[in-house]
């Protein structure tokens, strides 16, 4: 790499420097909301360097292309929305420290590296940077037992899955003599699919399944998502999951593409199992937060269909789905944060009883996000699912699309149950007092507007995703 190519790495460099600056700023800034504001400004500055960043440096080790830029756009939006919903919430949880925002930025930096990784070593390091920041953020409410427990569980299982990933990388390296994803692809085209190659594919698949919570490797998800601070749950279920999909796409659709015939059945099995586990177990949940955790597992099962379908169509459908999922999911979690006040958890289904009578606007927004998560038109959730089905049918997996529709129908039961509790039950006891703030309102506004906008007029987003993958 020459110094003239520095523009390719500029977003990552700027993000790293600004994350360090935010970390230091906490020393002098007393009001922690200001640190959050600095984090948002940093994202804007980083995004400024994105349009000029296209290129490949370090012999293909770092790739900035349309694919990675789309994912970085998701990460940035996710970070901004998370900061917006965090500031008031952290005060309620009495955990308002500036390091929170710096760690969010470091996690985002890790995700950016993952999306741009052209080499398994960079991929692994980006993943560790993201994961390490998340372990800490999960346990950020230190005085709360379930936050500590979630952090420890996440750390142990995360370390375990990292070990599996390294084992897989080692096996791939031992058989191809390289860690470069493009070179792996060209070496593999000349090789037969041997048992040892298939075993290494399985190792990589298991490791990535842990990260994006595909069943049967999802068992950490409900506990971690429930125990983590709600703002971090919102962040984790969107950004890091999208980053996991970014590397899954890059490694499997580029590096391991020659073995596609072998890994597609595995991925289909994982996808169906994930949809089944996520949707069926979500039905039993009385806690809305835990229900959303299972729902997040199910949605990963849907999005995987994009990778199974492959090609421009499949990948762009997957990317769009993740983008849409971000708005509806962060929206739903924002409502949970809105319900949380000093002495009130506001996570149980019963807490939503009669919300439409006491707080009609909040109930209306929750209704919108629940409809979108179910996939009912004219919300964005419908558009996301529609293009996934279209890609699946186009690639010849009509039966898989039908299975997905069936599971979506099942999911309507637990999403719409929240709506029924809000609209058809009488309020119980004292009225829920909401803890709103301007920033939380802004996050809700952005999420709700985009859920509606993409639902009604999706073509700019669809064509954007097609162009960057084409």
């Amino acid at each position: 790499m020459n110094f003239t190519d520095i523009h390719t790495l500029m977003p990552e460099i700027v993000m790293a420097v600004l994350a360090l600056a935010v970390l230091l700023s906490e020393l002098v800034i007393r009001r922690k909301e200001t640190v959050g504001l600095l984090a948002i400004v940093s994202v804007a500055v980083t995004a400024y360097f994105i349009p000029t960043s296209f290129g490949t440096v370090f012999n293909g080790m770092f790739i900035s292309d349309g694919y990675s830029v789309f994912f970085k756009f998701i990460f940035f939006t996710c970070l901004i929305l998370t900061v917006l919903i965090s500031s008031r919430y952290l005060e309620i949880e009495r955990s308002s420290h500036g390091e929170y925002y710096a760690l969010l930025m470091f996690a985002t930096l890790g995700m950016m590296l993952m999306a741009s990784a052209g080499d398994l070593i960079v991929l692994y390091l980006g993943l560790e940077l993201m994961a390490l920041s998340l372990y800490v953020l999960t346990g950020f409410i230190r005085h709360e037992y379930r936050s500590n427990e979630a952090s420890l569980k996440y750390f142990l299982l995360g370390a375990f899955s990292s070990a599996i990933l390294l084992y897989g990388i080692m096996m791939i390296y031992a058989q191809t003599g390289t860690t470069d994803i493009n070179t792996i692809s060209s070496v593999l085209t000349e090789k037969k699919a041997t048992v040892s190659l298939l075993l290494s594919v399985i190792f990589l698949l298991v490791a990535f399944s842990f990260k994006i919570a595909l069943a049967p490797f999802h068992m950490w998800t409900p506990d971690v998502y429930e125990g983590a601070p709600t703002s971090i749950t919102a962040f984790m279920s969107v950004g890091p999951k999208a980053a996991g999909f970014a590397v899954l796409g890059r490694v499997f659709l580029v590096g391991l593409y020659p073995l596609q015939i072998n890994w597609i059945p595995l991925l289909i099995g994982l996808s169906i199992l994930t949809m089944a586990v996520g949707n069926i177990l979500a039905i039993q949940q009385r806690s809305v937060k835990r229900m959303l955790a299972y729902s997040s597992i199910a949605h990963a099962g849907y999005a995987v269909i994009g990778i199974i379908a492959g090609g421009n169509e499949g990948v762009s459908a997957m990317m769009n789905y993740l983008l849409i999922y971000m708005f509806m999911n962060i929206g739903a979690f924002s409502i949970l944060i809105l319900m949380r006040s000093e002495d009130f958890l506001g996570e149980s289904l019963d807490d939503f009883k009669g919300l439409a009578k006491t707080h009609p606007l909040t109930a209306g927004l929750m209704l919108l996000f629940m409809f979108s998560l179910t996939g009912i038109p004219p919300t964005a959730g419908f558009i996301g699912k529609f293009y996934l089905f279209k890609a699946a049918v186009g690639a010849g997996y009509t039966w898989l699309a039908i299975v997905t529709v069936i599971f979506s129908a099942i999911s309507a039961y637990f999403y719409l149950r929240v709506v029924i509790y809000m609209y058809m039950h009488e309020p119980e006891g004292e009225a829920v007092s909401l803890s709103g703030s301007p920033s939380l309102g802004l996050a809700l506004l952005i999420s709700a507007l985009l859920v509606l906008f993409i639902g009604i007029y999706p073509s700019p987003f669809i064509s954007f995703a097609r162009i960057v993958t084409g």
């Binding site: 970390l23 012999n59 080499d119 980006g126 800490v136 950020f140 084992y167 048992v195």
Partner: protein
């Protein structure tokens, strides 16, 4: 001769690794691990990776083991010392290890000695390992190298956030 040394080192590593997990006294485990680390360093020397061997001894045998000892001494482990076994659930562990071993055995046939990249074994031999490693780390691999340093920073910040700060 090389095979003899390799056999000796491997045998000691396997035996002492088993002792580490089977010993019921945590301090003994750490000391067994020390012996194991030294022999791993020996394997690196056999592969002419003298820098890795030195780092293995300085970082693992030196720093990390001392930390382990500190942690064990800070946690009062008296009750565990009298337990039959330090960890239960060993059948599951055995199954995992057996699975990994089986995987490795099945895969060995597919392993190749060809390489794809700019650092051939001959070239490394010519300019010596430490120099080659330094050049690789500070040129082609500078990006992962710097990312690793940020990871360490996050680890430090995280440890302080979770452990040090007083609650307000």
């Amino acid at each position: 001769m090389l095979e003899f040394f390799f056999g000796y080192l491997s045998l000691v590593i396997i035996i002492f690794s088993l002792l580490v997990v089977l010993s019921k006294n945590a301090i003994h485990s750490v000391l067994y691990m020390l012996v194991m680390f030294f022999h791993v360093a020996g394997i690196y020397l056999l592969l002419q990776a003298e820098f890795l061997a030195a780092v293995q001894i300085i970082v693992y045998a030196g720093a990390i083991l001392v930390l382990f000892l500190f942690a064990i001494m800070l946690l009062n482990l008296r009750e565990e010392l009298s337990a039959e076994q330090l960890t239960d659930g060993w059948p599951a562990s055995l199954a995992v290890v057996a699975g990994l071993l089986l995987t490795l055995m099945l895969s060995l046939g597919g392993f190749t000695t060809t390489f794809n990249g700019s650092w051939s074994p001959e070239k490394i031999k010519e300019i010596t390992f430490t120099k080659a490693l330094g050049q690789a780390l500070y040129t082609g691999y500078i990006l992962p190298f710097e990312v690793a340093s940020i990871i360490l920073l996050v680890a430090i910040v995280g440890a302080i956030v979770l452990a040090k700060r007083r609650l307000n």
